[in-house]
Symmetry: C2
Subunit: 359 residues, 2 copies
């Protein structure tokens, strides 16, 4: 049926249809975008001509320029694109963003890049009305690049203090306290911390000065929460080993090796992400240490995988989906204001934590 898809040469434009049907551009345009204002007879004639000529419908590229709004939001990260589909935290967040976008019919464009130049280019040329930024490693660079685009944007998990930009985060101090209190109440007194990064591209043990000069306030606050609470239980926080990792297996293993190489082994591990916590559980189990009988582990984030692992993970749950929804709505309903929201977190007790072993 219809015409063959030959003559690849020059795609048919609305103007071609208008001429062929003997009407003006204006009318031809109306046939597609506001059919009710065109007389039925004319409308059908134009439609027939369009069909016969194999017109694909008004090209969104043209419409876009006129309309101004793209009706899509960009989600950016410095990780490779596959991060969105593989990382459990990102996935739940994306589900929340998707929900808000689905509700208003907005699209989602994923923005990322292997290297910095490409990232800059991709951000500059993304066809979106605003950005949601996953600020992990190199978040400040990402924010800087995005700021130049002068489009609304929201930073997620904002790792640094910049009051001039919109952001949604969680109460990291409260989360840290909740985790620490839970373990302390179970009788634990010897701890170790698997920390997210405090600055860019570094792993290893952390000193108090490094904490003070932390770039990422999220990390700093969780640590502060842990320490404040533990101090209240009479724990000497200065002696707690804090190992900075990159939230992946290699550096987390290195951290665990280093922590367990010392003489006084911890009976409880405070991990700043569920991912690290689960890696830690695997590592401990492989070493013959039972979780939670020998070592308790508490994570942070509350990703669904945590409930499925063995043993199920005790964690500080963030309202990830809700954060995603709100972030998307901030962009969709942008009103020019800088908004900063802090969401609450809650302790979810599962089976990776238990009473401190009798020493």
């Amino acid at each position: 049926m219809a015409s063959l898809i030959e003559g690849q040469a020059r795609p048919i434009r609305l103007a071609d249809i208008a001429k062929a049907a003997g009407v003006s551009h204006g009318t031809a345009s109306n046939v597609f975008s506001r059919p009710e204002v065109v007389r039925a007879e004319v409308r059908e004639r134009v439609r027939a001509v369009a069909e016969a000529m194999g017109y694909a419908g008004p090209d969104p590229k043209g419409r876009l320029l006129r309309a101004g709004k793209v009706n899509a939001i960009g989600v950016g990260t410095t990780e490779p694109l596959s991060y969105f589909f593989e990382d459990p935290f990102a996935r739940v967040m994306m589900a929340g963003i998707s929900e808000a976008c689905d509700a208003t019919g907005a699209g989602i464009a994923l923005v990322s890049a292997a290297n910095q130049e490409k990232l800059a280019w991709n951000i500059q040329s993304a066809l979106v009305d605003g950005f949601i930024l996953f600020c992990i490693e190199g978040g400040s660079r990402l924010v800087e690049l995005t700021r130049e685009r002068r489009l609304p944007f929201v930073a997620l998990e904002l790792g640094f203090h910049d009051e001039t930009i919109s952001a949604i985060g969680v109460d990291n101090i409260a989360g840290g306290r909740l985790a620490a209190r839970h373990l302390a109440e179970l009788g634990h007194r010897r701890f170790a911390v698997l920390s997210l990064t405090l600055g860019d591209d570094r792993t290893g043990f952390v000193t108090p000065e490094m904490v003070r000069s932390a770039v990422y306030t999220g990390t700093r606050d969780r640590l502060a929460g842990y320490f404040e609470e533990l101090s209240g239980f009479g724990v000497d926080t200065k002696s707690i080993p804090v190992f900075e990792t990159e939230n992946e297996q290699r550096s987390t293993w290195a951290g665990l090796e280093a922590i367990f190489a010392g003489g006084e082994r911890p009976t409880a591990i405070l991990a700043m992400s569920d991912r690290m916590a689960m890696i830690a559980i695997d590592w401990l189990t492989a070493r013959g240490l039972k979780v939670p009988e020998d070592v308790s582990v508490v994570g942070f984030d509350g990703v669904p995988d945590g409930a499925l692992c063995d043993p199920p993970l005790t964690t500080i749950a963030q309202p990830i989906t809700e954060i995603g929804r709100r972030a998307a709505r901030m962009i969709l309903d942008y009103d020019g204001a800088v908004r900063r929201e802090t969401m609450g977190v809650e302790l979810v007790v599962r089976a990776s934590t238990g009473p401190a072993p009798i020493s």
Copy 2:
């Protein structure tokens, strides 16, 4: 620094800075897109003016219209957007697509919609150079809508025979045979099949006539593979219950209930997706039936979750990531040809299958 982001009234255009800097718009354009052709002195002057006026850089909307190519590929489905982040099969596929896109710097736009009208609109207005279609339920509608856009597209997991469109799929017959042979060689003789849908929106037991008139040839072929192979082992395939599900929990449970309500219980289940297979394992375990001692289960797809579940799932693995990569490249390197590729599958034996129980 720079100028305040006030005067929201009218964003600055390239033409504005050209005038302010006293150069033509052609030169101003060159400053941003081909800086090497403009004299250093002029270039810096224009840049300074742009900076001072708070110019956000050339608007991609404008560039796009001229350039013609969007440099992004659309991935469409009839499921809600969150499908891409939640379904394990989709996630692996997206990882493959992401990889190819990352490599060439192309973007990904997710296209989906709650209802049909919105879906049509979203497909019509997606800013992409081509589409990759997840053809699940309602795949034919999706293909029809996309065809009207007259942009290159590839169907994934093509569920119906339409030789005029590009598609990438797997050898479903071979996969079916592999699964069936494995079980038959373990001594199984009583089977049940948890099938994907043969047509749209139906669940329940399947009759031979329904198989013959199947809309989805993928489903039909897997079934054919199962039956051909089992016949070779002397199994009466006519007596094998085949239950059509929607690849989710509710209908899969219903299928299992129906299958196990009968007198002669199967010792082996052939599931057409890993998802169903895992749901089946849970259901059986909850019923007190041991997998694989009492009932063996083999899945189809080879998603990573299958290796993690308990017991780890024996399955027919598709090269999902590779399919994704190829699909993306088909769009990125589109040459006007209709391509149809069939990928091989392989049997991955894990712990969900074992010798048939002695009856």
